[in-house]
């Protein structure tokens, strides 16, 4: 259950070097708490994402690291140094803004050179580094253009080059691909990932796009209501969500409110108010086994549910229901089955050659007890 928490603690204890550390960080704006006591450790060279719905405090968290906001409580550390009284212009981080915030009165070259010129970089080094940064993002041909003469994707690349050229300890990316159309976004995702691998710099990205976070990140922090719900690798977050919010926010899932009926070893029997009995088998030893008659939420991913007659087995959840809705998605078929109990179940079937039952016919659905999770409410 608490595997990911344990792992995060490991990160803090082992020799892995930390780039960013947040300790009990709070941020209050005019009486409204945006960030409620966040603890975070970001390792050196990691691609770390902060994922959450809008208004969850993820951008505020990034701005706290950048130094644009001062924490109301708690402490931000970068490479072990407290950043309490360090203004943004003295922090070893550079930000890529969602709106790019390029300087419109300067050429692309001057935009990228801005940071180095302030650091009184020698002329030859400046030429070399700006050239290299523009080459890195494939914008060397546009050096003499003004930002207004570039497309959104090109502006994004310039913003990246402007941050990377300073060789920061950490690159902060605030919804970096949010303003791009879908196709360009996919392209830039690949390039971001390549850049990260090539440079080995720590990336901290804020996003509301779960797919983007899952595909790019080494680790993800899922935020909700100013708190971190879970920190873990993409597969941990997806396969072992620790809270109903994470299960629901990452991917699709079916959630059942219920109460623990009886416990057989590592298998729980959960009973919903509508009388549905669900068996949940934990894959690892329960760290804190939900006790009897405790309220839980059972989460079943749509792709783990099968339609058809089940092979009989002990730890199989099998129900009868009516096929209410079928949507053809190409690679998959999306079905909605209404169970006898009245609960609606979303099922994702791979598009195989065998035909699906008729619409409105009675079908059997089943899933293994090991394929679902009981989450504390």
């Amino acid at each position: 259950m608490s595997q990911t928490v344990v792992q995060d603690r490991d990160a803090a204890q082992t020799d892995t070097k930390l780039d960013v550390e947040l300790r009990k960080v709070f941020k209050v704006f005019n009486g409204e708490t945006a960030v409620r006591g966040i603890d975070l450790t970001i390792r050196q060279g990691e691609f770390f994402s902060i994922l959450g719905p809008s208004g969850c405090g993820k951008t505020t968290t990034l701005r706290l690291i950048a130094g644009f906001e001062k924490p109301t409580g708690g402490e931000v550390l970068i490479r072990g140094k407290s950043m309490v009284n360090v203004p943004p212009y003295q922090r070893p981080v550079n930000t890529v803004f969602q709106s790019y915030a390029l300087f419109n009165h300067m050429t692309v070259w001057d935009n990228v050179a801005f940071g180095l010129r302030l650091k009184k970089c020698s002329k030859s080094e400046l030429q070399e580094r700006v050239g290299a940064a523009l080459q890195l993002v494939k914008m060397e041909a546009f050096a003499r253009r003004f930002p207004a003469q570039l497309s959104g994707g090109q502006q994004q690349r310039v913003a990246l080059a402007r941050a990377l050229v300073n060789r920061p300890t950490v690159v902060l990316l605030d919804e970096p691909l949010g303003a791009l159309d879908l196709k360009l976004r996919k392209e830039m995702q690949v390039e971001l990932s390549n850049l990260h691998q090539e440079l080995g710099v720590t990336f901290v990205m804020v996003t509301h796009d779960q797919e983007e976070a899952l595909s790019l990140s080494d680790r993800i922090a899922v935020m909700n209501g100013g708190r971190i719900e879970q920190i873990g690798s993409p597969s941990e977050i997806y396969e072992h969500p620790q809270t109903p919010f994470v299960a629901d926010f990452i991917g699709d899932t079916n959630l059942f409110q219920g109460r623990v009926g009886s416990i057989y070893g590592s298998t729980l029997q959960v009973i919903t108010p509508k009388g549905l009995e669900i068996l949940v088998k934990s894959q690892q030893a329960w760290a804190d086994l939900p006790s009897q008659s405790k309220d839980v939420v059972v989460s079943v991913r749509p792709e783990k549910i099968h339609i058809g007659a089940s092979e009989s087995g002990e730890s199989i959840n099998c129900y009868e229901g009516t096929l209410k809705h079928v949507m053809y998605l190409g690679t998959h078929v999306h079905c909605v089955v209404e169970l006898r109990s009245g609960d609606s179940l979303t099922v994702l079937q791979p598009n195989q050659s065998h035909r699906l039952p008729e619409l409105h016919s009675v079908v059997q659905v089943y899933w293994s007890a090991a394929d679902c999770l009981a989450l504390p409410v």
Binding site: F68, P87, S99, F103, N104, F114, R162, A163, N166
Partner: protein, 271 residues
Amino acid sequence: MTSPLPSAAPKIRVSWQAILTGLMYGFMYIPILILGFYSFNASRFSATWGGFSLRWYYSLLNDARILSALRDSLAVAFCAVAISAVLGTMMAVGLAKYSFPGKGLYRGISYLPLIIPDIAIAVATLVFLVTVGASLSLWTIIAAHIVFCLAYIAVVVSTRLTGLNPHLEEAALDLGATPAQAFIKVLLPELMPAILSGCLLAFVLSMDDLLIASFTAGGGANTLPMEIFSRVRTGVKPDINALSVLLILASGFLAFLSEYIRFKGNQRRLK
């Protein structure tokens, strides 16, 4: 290519909207056109046409009083605009950046000179200056002109500020610029088109002002509008026609320049 169909003679139809528009523009611009026409009249009297001549323009250039009034006007406008440019920009940036109690009221009061009638500003300034015992001079005109120039420049700059990316300054800080460097290297250049355009507008208004200047002018100070007004009281002379034409052309050019700068600035930002 000829049309196979016999074409009917085009009938000119004039809509009532076109007539109304024509009348309106006539009403607005015919007096100015007549003024321009008579400024080239060789005859001393407006009623008769004595042939085309530039003599009134020549006589203007040799009129010491006109030239000294022009010098006063330019001095007032340059000083008032230069001081207002600095103060107005700071006011607009401050109002956009900081929040403090009573900000809405403060903002309203700052822009009030735009709608207060000139006569009220003129009388109030005069009463104030007399009360504090300040002796009237060219500097008192400048002080009074700053009142409305400041408001105009602040309005134009703050319009531009609201359209500006709010993260520009943060981006500069993020790249290692101190707040002062961020202001000088990023914010000021981004605002420059608006500041210039506001200055030109204020300059034209200052050059044009008769009321406030005549109330606040001290002995010896005499602006161009004041000089024109004093001459017109004894009948319009042809050289005043010529001067008016020059003034119209100059302010038209400045107004156009101001709009052009603003348009260019917006275009670069919006594209």
